[in-house]
Amino acid sequence: MTTQSVLDKQSIVVLSLLAAVAVLVPVLNGLAVPGSALHLSDHLVPLLGKYICFALLALSVDLIWGYCGILSLGHGAFFALGGYAMGMYLMRQIGPRGVYAHPVLPDFMVFLNWKDLPWFWYGFDVFPFAMLMVLLVPGILAFIFGWLAFRSRVTGVYLSIITQAMTYALMLAFFRNNMGFGGNNGLTDFKDILGFPLQSASTRRVLFVLSVAALGAGYLLCRWLVGSKFGKVLVAVRDAESRTRFLGYRVEHYKLAVFTISAMLAGVAGALYVPQVGIINPSEFAPANSIELVIWVAVGGRGTLAGAILGALVVNAGKTWFTGALPEFWLFALGGLFIFVTLFTPRGILGAGQGLWERAKQMLGSKPSRSSFSGGGVVP
C-alpha cells in the first residue's frame, strides 16, 4: 500500500517533468548554439535554479500547512538559516582572496575590527560540517520552537503570529552588525564552492541540476511521509485534532516531527538558493517573505505536493515578468492574487484543474475511480 502510494500517477508525472528539466536546461544552456531559439541564456539558469529552490521551500510549507494544518508565517526563517549556513561555508572558502586579504576573517569582520573568528564560525570551512549545519540549525530551532509551542497547544492563528514573531526577532538580530553575520549586507562576494568557481556557467548548471535533484528527493520524501500511516495521522490532526488526541495519538509529537522535517527541507532549499543568487542577507527573514511563500502554496493548491511546486514556479515567474514589464503593478497583481485565490480557488490551480477534469469525466459518463492514494489532502 505504501510503496504503491509513493509511485502514484501524480508522482510519476512530477518526477519525469523534473527529470526532463534537469536534463533539458543544462543541455540547452551548455550545448545549444548561443543566439539560437533553443539556447537558454546564461542568466536564465540561476533564475530557474532560484525558482526550483523556492519550489522546495513551498513544498516544505505545504507539508505542514497542507497536511497538518500548521500555518507557519515564519518559514522564511528556516530557509534563511540554511542559507546562512551555506553562506558561511562560502565565506570561509574566500580565504585570503577578500579585499583586505585577511587569511581567515571575512571582509566585514576585518572592517569591524574583529580580531578573531567568533566561535560559531568554526568548522564552517569544512563542507560536510557546513552541510550538516544546513540541516541541524533550522532543525534544532524548529524543534525547540515547536516543542514549546505544540506542547502548550498553541494552535491556529496564535501559532501563525508567534512564528511571525520568531522570524521578525531573527531578522532584527541578524541586522545587528554585532551578531557577526555581516549585518544588513549579509554574506556576499562568494568565490567558489568545493573548488569550483561560482561564476562559471558549468558550476551553475551543476547547481541547477542539484537543486532539481533536491526538489525531486524532497518531493519523494514528502510523498512517502504523507502516504504512510504517519501522514494519515497528520491529516487526521489537521481535520480533527481533538479526535486524534482522544484516539490516543500525542498530537504534539506528530506536529513537532513534521515541523522539524519541514524546517530542514526549508534549510536545504536555502542552502541551494544562496550559491545561485550570490547573497544572503537578513531581509530573507522579513515576515512579508514568509507570508508570500504561503501564497505560492495556496495558489498551487495546498495539500497537494505537486500544487506547492507549481504555485512557487507560477508566482515567481509572474513576479519576474511583472517586475520587468509592469513594475508599478506588481504589488497590485500579487495582492489581487492573494484575494482571488483565497476567495475563488481555495484548492488552488491544481485543485481547480482537477475539479474541472473530474467534472468533465463525469459528464462523459465514466465512473469516478478510486484514487490511488487515500492519505490525501484537500484534493483526492
Binding site: L38, L47, R97, R176, N177, T323
Partner: protein, 429 residues
C-alpha cells in the same frame, strides 16, 4: 513517446529557422540603439528614494537623444524593478546585461544592493554607475562610484563643526548597517586623532525604521548638557529620520543648542517633514538644490519640465547620475565604442562640469572629484550653503583612518588593481 520525438524534431527545425532570423534581428537592433539599463527599486521600501533616480535617468537619456544620440545611434533606456529585494537586484542586473545587452547600467542605492550585483558585473564584464554616497572600502573595475566617499562628506562636515561651531563633544548616531558603521569608525578615529577624548564621543545604533526616539533623544540631550558644545553626526537612514527630527523638535533641541549634521538627509527627505523646527540643522553633500549656478538653474528647469511638476525637488544622488551619465557619454565618444573594456579604459581622466560650478573628474580609483558643501536647513526644506571646500575633493576608496585599509590604494589605470597594498606591494594581498 513518439509524440515527444515528434515535438523534439519540430523544435529543432524551428530553432534553426529562429537562429538565422534571431541573429539578423539582433544585428539590426544593435545598429538602431544603444541600450542603457536603469536598476532602481520602484516598489518596496527603497522606492521612496530610488524612483526619482529612475526619472532622472529617463530625462538624461531623452536629452542625449535630442542632441542626436551617441555615436550616431539613439539611446534606449531599459527600466526594471528590483523591488527593494537584494537578490532580485542581482537577477535583474543579469537580465539587463545578458538579455537586454545594455551598454551600461545606472543603478542601486543601498550598499547591500551594490554588493549583491557586484559579482554579476564582474562576471559579465559590464559597467555600473553607482550614484549614492557610501562607506567606501571598495573599488571595482566594473563600478564607477559617482556619490561621495566618506572623505568627501563626513570628514569635511566634522571639520566645519569643530571650526565654526566649536564643537568638542560628539554624538555619532546611525542606523545599524555598514555605511553608518564604517563612517562612524572613520570619524571616531579621525576625531581621536584630533585630540577628542573617548568620553566625549557617544556612539549609538538603531534598527532600520526605528520610530520611538524618546530615549535616545533624551540621552543626546543629557550628553549635550555637560558643558561642552555638542553636535550630533547623523547617519540615520531614510524612514527613521522623520520621527527622529520630530522628536528633536519636540524635546526642544534647537540647532543653536545641539546641531545635527546628517549625511543621508537631503531635499527629498525634508519634503516629508515640517522643516520649521529644524532650521539650522545641517547636512553635508556635494550638491544642494539651492546652489546658485547657471548649470544648476538650467538643470532644475529641465527637470521640472520633464516631470511636469513645478515643485519637484532635486538632490545629491541625482547630480551624481548627471555626472556619471555625462562621463559615460564622453568616454564612449572618446573610445568610439560602447565596449565595456574600452570605455573603462577611456573614462579615467574624463572631466565633466558638475552642477555646482566645478569640473568633476573620474579618478583612477573609479571615484570622482567633488566639492563638499555644508548646508543648514531652511524653513522651506531647502539648504543654505554655509561652507564649501575651496577646491574639489578627490574621492578616496580606502580610508586612511581605518586599520585594515590604511595601506590600500586603488588604481585602475597603471596598477590595474582595486586593492593594492602599498606595504607588501601586491595586489589584493
Amino acid at each position: 513517446m513518439s509524440m515527444l520525438k515528434m515535438t523534439r524534431r519540430c523544435l529543432i527545425a524551428l530553432a534553426s529557422a529562429a537562429l538565422v532570423s534571431g541573429a539578423m534581428a539582433g544585428a539590426a537592433q544593435a545598429q538602431e540603439t544603444i541600450k542603457v539599463g536603469i536598476l532602481h527599486s520602484l516598489s518596496g521600501t527603497m522606492a521612496i528614494s530610488e524612483t526619482t533616480l529612475k526619472d532622472v535617468m529617463l530625462m538624461l537619456v531623452e536629452e542625449q537623444n535630442k542632441k542626436g544620440g551617441l555615436l550616431g545611434k539613439k539611446l534606449e533606456a531599459v527600466v526594471v524593478d528590483p523591488a527593494s529585494d537584494w537578490p532580485l537586484f542581482a537577477e535583474k542586473a543579469r537580465q539587463l546585461i545578458s538579455q537586454d545587452k545594455v551598454a551600461a547600467v545606472f543603478g542601486c542605492w543601498t550598499s547591500v544592493s551594490r554588493k549583491s550585483v557586484l559579482p554579476v558585473f564582474k562576471e559579465l564584464n559590464s559597467i555600473l554607475f553607482y550614484p549614492v554616497q557610501y562607506e567606501g572600502e571598495e573599488s571595482e573595475r566594473n563600478v564607477f562610484y559617482t556619490g561621495a566617499a566618506p572623505n568627501q562628506q563626513a570628514i569635511p562636515a566634522v571639520d566645519y563643526l569643530a571650526k565654526e561651531e566649536k564643537v568638542e563633544r560628539w554624538v555619532l548616531a546611525g542606523t545599524d548597517y555598514v555605511y553608518p558603521r564604517t563612517t562612524n569608525k572613520i570619524l571616531e578615529a579621525y576625531l581621536k586623532s584630533k585630540g577628542v577624548k573617548s568620553e566625549d564621543i557617544l556612539i549609538n545604533y538603531t534598527p532600520f525604521g526605528h520610530s520611538d526616539w524618546q530615549t535616545i533623544v533624551a540621552d543626546i540631550k543629557k550628553f549635550g548638557s555637560a558643558g561642552k558644545k555638542t553636535a550630533v553626526v547623523s547617519t540615520i537612514n531614510g524612514d527613521a529620520n522623520v520621527p527622529f527630527y520630530k522628536e528633536l523638535a519636540n524635546q526642544g533641541i534647537k540647532a543653536t543648542d545641539i546641531p545635527v549634521v546628517a549625511f543621508s538627509v537631503g531635499e527629498e527627505e525634508l519634503a516629508g517633514i515640517d522643516a520649521k523646527p529644524l532650521v539650522g540643522h545641517l547636512a553635508a553633500w556635494n550638491y544642494f538644490q539651492s546652489v546658485d549656478t547657471p548649470e544648476n538653474k538650467a538643470f532644475i528647469e529641465k527637470w521640472r519640465a520633464f516631470t511636469k511638476n513645478e515643485k519637484r525637488v532635486s538632490n545629491d544622488p541625482m547630480e551624481a547620475h548627471v555626472i556619471g551619465f555625462n562621463m559615460w557619454v564622453k568616454a564612449v565618444e572618446k573610445a568610439g565604442t560602447t565596449d565595456p573594456d574600452k570605455v573603462i579604459d577611456a573614462i579615467v581622466g574624463v572631466q565633466v562640469p558638475n552642477l555646482t560650478g566645478g569640473v568633476s573628474e573620474m579618478l583612477p580609483n573609479h571615484h570622482v572629484t567633488k566639492p563638499v558643501l555644508i548646508g543648514e536647513i531652511k524653513e522651506d526644506g531647502q539648504f543654505e550653503t554655509v561652507s564649501q571646500t575651496d577646491s574639489l575633493v578627490p574621492g578616496e576608496a580606502w580610508s586612511k583612518y581605518l586599520e585594515g585599509s590604511r595601506d590600500l590604494i586603488a588604481d585602475w589605470k597603471t596598477l590595474k588593481c582595486g586593492n593594492y597594498n602599498t606595504v607588501t606591494k601586491k595586489c589584493g594581498a
